[in-house]
């Protein structure tokens, strides 16, 4: 087990290094830079020498590989550099915005899981075939809808038409309802699709017939035999969807004007605040890797077949 764990952590570190390096190369090769955007503004009235001083203080003109070596060393010691735009350390920017994004993402993910489970099990339980086919076609619809459009439509309907949720000064939790829904709906779709397929597949397994032959009712079989077996493969999908969750958070925060990593990302892209972007990429990669590692380590807990085999007994 420990050997497996060390191997997996080694892989995770390689992924992180690759994410850092590739994003570094991409960000460095962008035309223009953050300092020009911020300080070349004529209203500031800075002379060329002063700008040169600022550039020197940010060390932006040293060769790229020196910068690479510096920033990788700094990242290793927990120093993510300075945000040119905000003039504070990147770590401050991240820490200030992390909690709200974390809250949005967690709630969004939970809502997606509940929605996916509801769709999948309803599609199995409902007897009317026309209603069942409507429910079964929902995930395809959810995937096709763009997040920004969905967000705007939800505001239109629930805030402006139905006036259920105020746009100006909503309560702390009230303000989260629509963003969470916007985030959850597209994420729930692939989970629901995989889950529906799994349920259908498990229902054809011989052990289901054996359970029915014991006298178990349809519902008994569904809850006690199908659910766990059908949920197991969805765990992997859930891990992979974490990436979607981050991407979704960027758009959702922009549409709803929320503070968080998403809006920080958006501003950093507009201002070419490379240090911030670099930190966000590495942070996202780290979160992605950790979540997928956790999923893999959790599998044996739910699936006895993946536990280390005890010595065969006579």
């Amino acid at each position: 087990m420990s050997r497996y764990l060390i191997g997996r952590i080694g892989q995770a570190l390689i992924v992180l290094w690759a994410a850092f390096t590739i994003s570094f190369i991409l960000l460095q090769s962008l035309p223009g830079d953050a300092i020009l955007i911020k300080f070349l503004n004529p209203e500031l009235g800075l002379g060329p020498e002063q700008i040169a001083d600022i550039r020197a203080s940010y060390a932006v003109d040293v060769p790229a590989w020196t910068q690479y070596a510096h920033s990788i060393l700094n990242f290793l010691t927990g120093n993510f550099g300075y945000s040119v735009q905000a003039g504070v350390p990147v770590s401050h920017v991240l820490l200030a915005n992390l909690p709200s994004t974390l809250r949005l993402a967690t709630l969004g993910f939970l809502a997606a899981a509940v929605l996916a489970a509801a769709i999948s099990f309803l599609s199995t339980l409902i007897a009317f075939s026309w209603l069942r086919s409507i429910i079964q076609s929902l995930p395809a619809l959810f995937i096709a809808v763009p997040v920004f459009w969905l967000g705007i439509m939800l505001i239109q309907i629930f805030s402006f038409q139905l006036r259920l949720i105020p746009v100006i000064n909503p309560g702390e939790w009230e303000a989260l309802i629509l963003p969470v829904a916007t985030l959850a709906i597209p994420i729930s779709a692939p989970i629901a699709q995989v889950l529906m397929r799994n349920i259908d597949h498990v229902l054809t397994e011989p052990f289901i017939a054996v359970a029915r032959a014991k006298g178990a009712s349809r519902n008994w079989v569904l809850w006690r035999h199908v659910t766990k077996n059908a949920l197991l493969p969805t765990l992997t999908i859930a891990g992979i969807l974490f990436g979607e969750l981050l991407a979704g958070a960027v758009v959702t925060e922009a549409v709803f004007g929320l503070n968080g990593i998403g809006s920080v990302t958006q501003q950093a892209v507009n201002n070419q605040d490379i240090a911030v972007l670099q930190a966000i990429v590495v942070f996202s990669a780290a979160a992605f890797v950790v979540i997928n590692l956790a999923v893999d380590l959790l599998y044996p807990v739910f699936d006895p077949r993946l536990r280390i085999k005890k010595e065969a007994t006579a």
Partner: protein
């Protein structure tokens, strides 16, 4: 008096049963007016090939037809009550308690994420038999009754920790838990090794006697039916061809179909083939000496010896069979011979070439001489290729052959394996299992090999199809002078086709020689046990 009366009344009466499946929008009948009865303590076997409607009939009895199936007419009387029109909710009350099921494939018939104890206890829980503690005690008792050692430990284990035979015992424990009046055994042993099959069938026999249970045995294997059933019901295409007491049906079959089934069943038929064991060529097509194959286990800290000192010689134009149960090393030996796996030690010479020394291009050219036919004719053909492409492909891999020559070659081979030309444009899914296996044989023969390795090549086929394929193999061998290495778990089939045989057990060669010698004078206890376990031998010896 009352006991005698109870004996007379059938537990199960099937009366003119018609079952249909929905295909597209219309219902098509697959069972047309089947009637039979099963009395207490009696075994009635539903015998037939795939598509005969035997499993459909059994599923209807327990009310578990597939979603697109329905009962069109007829009655299913359980102890005199017609249950054919009962709702699923009503059926739930008698399933498990009055009728129970022993399923076909023990490896997939237990929920992989629940313990054995939970799954045996479930049937008691569903029918409200006792509290948690009482159920636990009863589970242990049941597991012990079906012959599992350490029942308390087994109850805590998961299905994957048990062998196939042990899992089938668990499923039998579930089936007898509430002492039902009727047990439906749907091919209960067709996924098991022959020695395990015998033990499982013996166990079902014991329990049937103990509880005077009626058993409806569904099987494709006439040998099993002959050994175990009081009555036979022979089905073909959803109709009863013949039914009656087992001894009568076997000794004086009235329907031509039953006669054909009996003639084709390898365990019941006498071998008609003239052995070439001593008359064949003096040259050897395959020589295997002291073959050893180790595999690393537990992250390479230990090795597992899958094949341990196997040696045999096969004369050109003859058939050598390697027989063994799962885990005997027979497939590993075959993989060594076709050079898919380099042996740990030992010598393998095929057609004068030392196989273990071959590398790169020489190894590739060697594959022309020796071809493989696999067990599963459904998985071994690419579903997207046409039959022509499948048979042609090996020719494309070896040298430039003009298109007309390839086409001619494919047509020739197709004719040899007895398939019509119209097959060429079809896809594998449009063919039956037997036709697919003919295609697989054609693909193997298109390179004009000298040796054909047949890995359980007829195991997945119905007996009549099996007999046809065995006949085809025999004919091809005589015409083309082919040498066969025939890998099989089925001793009865081996007796039909092979000249010489090696019996493998746990990687060791426990017997070898001509088929006649090994069958009549087995040198090891294991071989004797294997021969005794062939279903139908008792009946065959008597007939």
């Amino acid at each position: 008096m009352t006991a005698a009366k109870a004996m007379d009344r059938p537990v199960l009466e099937i009366d003119n049963l018609v079952i249909a499946y929905k295909d597209q929008d219309a219902f098509h009948s697959v069972v047309h007016g089947v009637s039979f009865a099963v009395r207490p303590g009696e075994v009635v076997a539903l015998v037939g090939e795939s598509g005969s409607g035997k499993t459909t009939t059994a599923q209807a009895v327990i009310g578990l037809l597939a979603e697109n199936g329905r009962l069109e007419s007829g009655a299913i009387r359980l102890n005199g009550t017609d249950i054919s029109k009962w709702s699923q909710k009503q059926l739930d009350t008698i399933r498990g308690s009055k009728i129970s099921l022993i399923p076909q494939d023990p490896t997939s018939s237990l929920n992989p994420v629940k313990t054995i104890g939970e799954q045996v206890g479930e049937i008691l829980k569903i029918h409200g038999r006792g509290d948690k503690k009482a159920i636990e005690a009863r589970v242990t008792e049941l597991l012990a009754r079906v012959g599992l050692s350490h029942p308390e430990l087994r109850a805590r284990q998961y299905p994957h920790e048990l062998s196939g035979g042990m899992r089938q015992r668990v499923l039998i424990a579930i089936a007898i838990a509430l002492e039902p009046a009727l047990i439906i055994a749907d091919e209960p042993t067709s996924a098991l090794d022959v020695t395990v099959q015998k033990r499982i069938l013996d166990l079902i026999d014991d329990l049937r006697r103990e509880f005077n249970t009626a058993v409806l045995l569904v099987t494709h294997d006439l040998g099993v039916a002959a050994d175990r059933a009081n009555h036979l019901v022979v089905l073909q295409g959803g109709r009863i061809q013949e039914r009656g007491p087992t001894a009568e049906v076997l000794s004086a079959p009235r329907s031509p179909y039953t006669r054909k089934l009996l003639a084709d069943a390898p365990s019941l038929a006498k071998p008609q083939r003239v052995s070439k064991a001593n008359t064949g060529s003096d040259e050897y097509a395959i020589v295997v000496e002291n073959l050893v194959q180790d595999f690393p286990v537990k992250n390479g800290r230990e090795t597992f010896r899958a094949v341990d000192g196997v040696s045999f010689r096969v004369r050109k134009g003859t058939t050598h069979a390697i027989v063994g149960e799962s885990g005997s090393g027979k497939t590993t030996t075959a993989r060594n011979v076709v050079a898919f796996q380099k042996p740990t030690s030992g010598r393998i010479v095929v057609d004068g070439a030392d196989v273990t020394a071959l590398r790169g291009e020489n190894l590739r050219q060697f594959r022309r001489k020796i071809q493989l036919v696999y067990q599963n004719p459904f998985g071994s053909l690419d579903p997207l290729q046409s039959i022509f492409q499948i048979i042609e492909e090996p020719l494309l891999n070896f040298g430039r052959i003009a298109r007309e020559d390839r086409t001619r070659k494919v047509h020739d081979i197709l004719e040899r394996v007895g398939l019509p030309e119209s097959t060429l444009t079809r896809k594998p899914r449009a063919l039956s299992g037997g036709q697919r296996q003919r295609v697989a044989i054609a693909r193997a023969l298109v390179l004009d090999p000298q040796v054909l390795v047949l890995d359980e090549a007829v195991s997945a086929l119905d007996v009549t199809v099996q007999a046809q394929i065995l006949g085809l193999l025999d004919e091809l061998q005589q015409k083309l002078g082919l040498t066969y290495l025939f890998i099989s778990h089925d001793l009865a089939v081996v007796r039909q086709i092979a000249d010489t045989v090696s019996v493998l057990h746990d990687g060791r060669q426990v017997d070898s020689g001509t088929v006649e010698d090994v069958f009549l004078r087995p040198g090891s206890d294991y071989t004797r046990e294997l021969i005794d376990a062939i279903p139908g031998t008792k009946t065959f010896a008597l007939a």
